[in-house]
């Protein structure tokens, strides 16, 4: 194998068995979510396929469709395994789109603030600090409540709640890079400020941002689930994991635990795996934690 920074990074990553397992799990989930229509026994959105007689059946029940509902069915007779996979698909979409956009906005805002400095920097970073002083869930909830239900409204709310984390991190990294000789070398050529920010400062500020991104995708997914659970997130026609948990919530005390518990477990395991991967990446990219 060639000795590139990437191959060294992967070799070190592989030494942590737990993180490697988590990474494999995340990839499998992402893969299954991508090909969901091909692997699920049922299309949970197709109301024509739902049979009300199969509603609230326990795990292992063989339904009218002739196949086994391994995780049981929900109150509308939906196969829970299919619903969870489709739910993960939606959650993942929301998490990646929201975090990705927040990443780009935050990185540009943070780097620009660090490069320009002065009043612009003070103003932008104080706004960011103000936002960081509120819990993300509160901000997202307020925005989602104002904008109303819907996919794009929810993405906007998530971006608004998350970009500040990226901006803060990018600003810290870029302010440190700004002082380094290679930036001065670029300025002494002279290169235009935009080029210096985008080609020199930004790429060198990426490692801490990547760490934040892995954690923020997980947090975007759990935010989305929370908002959907509370009823301000996605519409019921696109049941994400949060909505599934909310749907089963009312049956929890009547012994039909599976409607809520299995989507909840899927959510927890997925988020924990994402965080394990993120922690390992952080440990490897943070020189201060290196021995």
């Amino acid at each position: 194998m060639r000795d590139t920074p990437l191959s060294r990074f992967l070799n070190e990553f592989r030494r942590n068995k737990v993180a490697t397992g988590a990474a494999v799990f995340v990839f499998v989930i992402v893969f299954i979510a991508l090909i969901a229509p091909l692997v699920t026994p049922q299309d949970p959105y197709d109301l024509a396929h739902l049979v009300l007689r199969d509603a609230r059946r326990p795990p292992g029940y063989v339904g009218t469709g002739g196949y086994t509902h391994w995780l049981g069915t929900d109150s509308q007779g939906r196969d829970l395994l299919s619903a969870i996979i489709y739910g993960l698909r939606i959650s993942l979409q929301m998490g990646i789109i929201a975090s990705g956009t927040a990443f780009v906005i935050g990185a540009v805002v943070g780097c620009a603030a660090a490069y320009i400095g002065g009043r612009f920097e003070s103003l932008v970073m104080r706004i960011v600090d103000l936002q960081l002083s509120f819990p993300a869930i509160l901000l997202a909830f307020v925005i989602a409540a104002i904008l109303g239900q819907g996919r794009y409204q929810l993405i906007l709310a998530l971006i608004f709640a998350q970009y500040a984390y990226f901006a803060r991190t990018a600003h810290g990294a870029a302010a440190a890079e700004r002082q380094k000789d290679y930036v001065e070398a670029a300025l002494s050529i002279p290169l235009s400020p935009w080029r210096v920010v985008l080609r020199h400062i930004l790429p060198n500020s990426l490692p801490p941002l990547i760490v934040v991104a892995t954690v923020q995708i997980a947090s975007a997914i759990s935010l989305e689930a929370t908002l959907s659970f509370l009823g301000v997130g996605l519409p019921p026609t696109e049941p994400s994991l949060g909505m599934l948990i909310a749907n089963g919530f009312q049956y929890l005390l009547s012994g039909r635990y599976w409607i809520s518990i299995y989507p909840g477990l899927a959510l927890i395991i997925f988020i924990v795996s994402l965080n394990l991967v993120g922690d390992q990446i952080r440990d490897q990219l943070n020189p201060r934690l290196r021995r």
């Binding site: 920074p5 380094k180 000789d181 290679y182 001065e184 070398a185 670029a186 300025l187 002494s188 050529i189 002279p190 290169l191 235009s192 080029r195 080609r199 020199h200 790429p203 060198n204």
Partner: protein
């Protein structure tokens, strides 16, 4: 001191076939690979070598400070006949600081910033003996007085940051001397210090060891320093001692090729301006022809870069409330530092001007203003009559005719770009070459600085320090400048690499009719390269003139002090 030529029958320290290895991804790194030497009581041994030669690891092995996973795989270290290799750590601790102590390069790193000097000395005392508080304080004051720190009764309560670099190193030496050790290992103890402080510490150290009869291992990359303090010199190369003998003998009549190469690489041993013997290793290609117009350039020797009464003040940025207070006259601005306090200087076309000074003299700030990186507080800098920076609220550099080479080639190249892109970026942005020609153009410059043109798609981390500095030079030259500001371009390089870079600069400067502003603290390098020299002290130029004249007959008292402080190699007997 003992007679350096004869080794007495009972050596203080005897190292035999020492091997200290470090496992790595690609097998063992044999940092020290079969080193043998001995030291008599009271003797000073200089351990000289370039980076990676194993000289520091040898020192660390003796004092038992090899970090895991490194280990001593073979050999013996005998202190007064007692074997140190394999000794349990608590027994090593009893020796460390008491019989053998160590002084490190950077005293800021080895002194604890949150404890007063007195407390740190007390802790070092209590590691081996018990003292009452009053006694310990008395001992601490005595120790500080011994290393010539004035007013020790008061300074004993100071914290490390209240001392200058030289004073901190004196404190570190005082701590090393506390228990009257028989051996002190000094690892580059003066490398981080200015020449004049270095000269003081060297002289004091010499006196102290002869007074106390302490043996010394002085680890250094600098042959001149070692020659001024050591009785015997050992030259190390890739984990081995290639030559060991009396200092005068090794440095005037070197037996080994490597020692000769090291000595030949020193600019102080060559005639000013000539190529250094061992530095001309790589055959360099001719640089590509200039494309920018040269018609309106003045003749060689006429004034070109004109710095007129330039001032740079640094103010600590004040917060909102203090700003209001300053505006209403209630408060003064905080910490105003005059880095450059009114400097006028003219660099002629084709000339090499040396800008010499110690740390804090403002030489780098002046250089960065000349290069258009830092905005002057007042004054003007013009290149051939044109300003270097635009005026207005946010001044920008508006010329490409003046370029910069930085000290640290590891920091000055963007690690995420291929070196071809690093070199081509500026010329492309300023349309000196078209995208189609860029690859050829980069290849020509790589060849001109002595690198293989096929290296252009590699990343900076794949190169050594000297190669990186060549890349940085190619980046500056690819902009086809007339002036290059070189800020300590060889200060962080080994002597042999330094010689190569100096040779490269001498050759390119002649071929391209470049003017250089050569900023350096190293007087011998400046002597070798520069036509004219300006000496800076506390933000001002105290003396300026032809290099030969200044070195032969310095007028200003500061220049005289500076030149006297430079350690000199013994001249070879004819």
């Amino acid at each position: 001191m003992t007679d350096p030529v004869t080794t007495p029958a009972t050596p203080l320290l005897e190292v035999t076939n020492l091997k200290t290895w470090f496992p790595s991804g690609r097998g063992e790194v044999k940092a020290v690979d079969g080193v043998s030497f001995s030291i008599a009581p009271g003797e000073v041994l200089g351990l000289v070598g370039e980076s990676g030669s194993g000289k520091s690891i040898t020192g660390f092995s003796i004092i038992g400070l090899i970090d895991e996973p490194g280990r001593i795989v073979e050999g013996s270290i005998k202190l007064e006949g007692r074997e140190l290799v394999g000794l349990p750590s608590h027994e090593l601790r009893a020796i460390r600081g008491k019989t053998i102590s160590m002084v490190f390069q950077d005293p800021m790193m080895t002194l604890n910033p949150v404890l007063s000097i007195g407390t740190q000395i007390k802790l070092a005392l209590e590691a081996h003996e018990t003292f009452s508080s009053a006694e310990a304080r008395e001992r601490a004051i005595k120790a500080l007085r011994q290393v010539r720190i004035s007013d020790p009764e008061r300074k004993v309560d100071f914290f490390p940051h209240q001392f200058s670099g030289g004073m901190r190193q004196r404190v570190a030496i005082a701590i090393a001397l506390l228990h009257r050790p028989k051996l002190i290992i000094c690892d580059e103890p003066t490398t981080a210090l200015d020449v004049s402080i270095q000269a003081e510490i060297l002289a004091e150290m010499k006196e102290l060891v002869s007074e106390l009869g302490t043996a010394l291992i002085w680890i250094s990359h600098d042959l001149a320093i070692v020659s001024s303090i050591a009785d015997r010199v050992a030259v190390m190369k890739s984990g081995n001692i290639v030559e060991i003998g009396p200092a005068l003998g090794v440095l005037t009549k070197p037996q080994h090729d490597y020692t000769r190469a090291l000595l030949d690489a020193l600019p102080s041993r060559a005639k000013p301006g000539e190529l250094l013997l061992r530095g001309s290793g790589i055959a360099d290609a001719a640089p590509p022809p200039r494309k920018s117009a040269t018609a309106n350039l003045p003749h060689l020797g006429s004034p070109y870069l004109v710095i007129d009464d330039v001032v740079k003040r640094f103010e600590k940025p004040a917060g909102l409330f203090r700003n209001l207070a300053i505006k209403s006259g209630l408060s003064q601005p905080l910490n105003v530092v005059h880095a450059v306090a009114g400097v006028s200087l003219t660099v002629k076309r084709g000339e090499v001007l040396g800008l010499v000074g110690e740390s804090g003299s403002g030489k780098s700030t002046l250089g960065r203003m000349a290069a258009g990186i830092t905005v002057p507080t007042s004054g003007t800098i013009g290149l051939n009559g044109q300003p270097v920076m635009s005026t207005g609220r946010a001044p920008k550099k508006i010329t490409t005719r003046i370029q910069t080479i930085f000290q640290d080639p590891f920091a000055s190249l963007n690690g995420r770009m291929r070196i071809g892109d690093i070199i081509a970026e500026g010329p492309l942005a300023h349309r000196l070459v078209s995208r189609a020609e860029a690859a050829v153009y980069v290849g020509q410059w790589l060849a001109a600085v002595g690198l293989d043109p096929s290296f252009s798609n590699r990343f900076p981390h794949q190169f050594s320090g000297g190669q990186r500095q060549r890349i940085a030079i190619a980046r500056a030259l690819a902009m086809q400048p007339d002036v290059i500001v070189c800020d300590e371009p060889v200060a962080s390089l080994d002597v042999s690499i330094q010689a190569q870079i100096i040779n490269l600069l001498i050759r390119l400067r002649a071929e391209l009719d470049l003017s250089l502003v050569f900023i350096s603290h190293d007087l011998s390098v400046v002597r070798h390269l520069c036509d004219r020299v300006a000496i800076m002290y506390q933000g001002r130029i105290v003396e300026e003139g032809e290099a030969a004249a200044i070195y032969a007959d310095p007028q200003h008292a500061y220049t005289q002090r500076l030149l006297a402080a430079v350690p000199v190699l013994p001249q070879a007997a004819e």
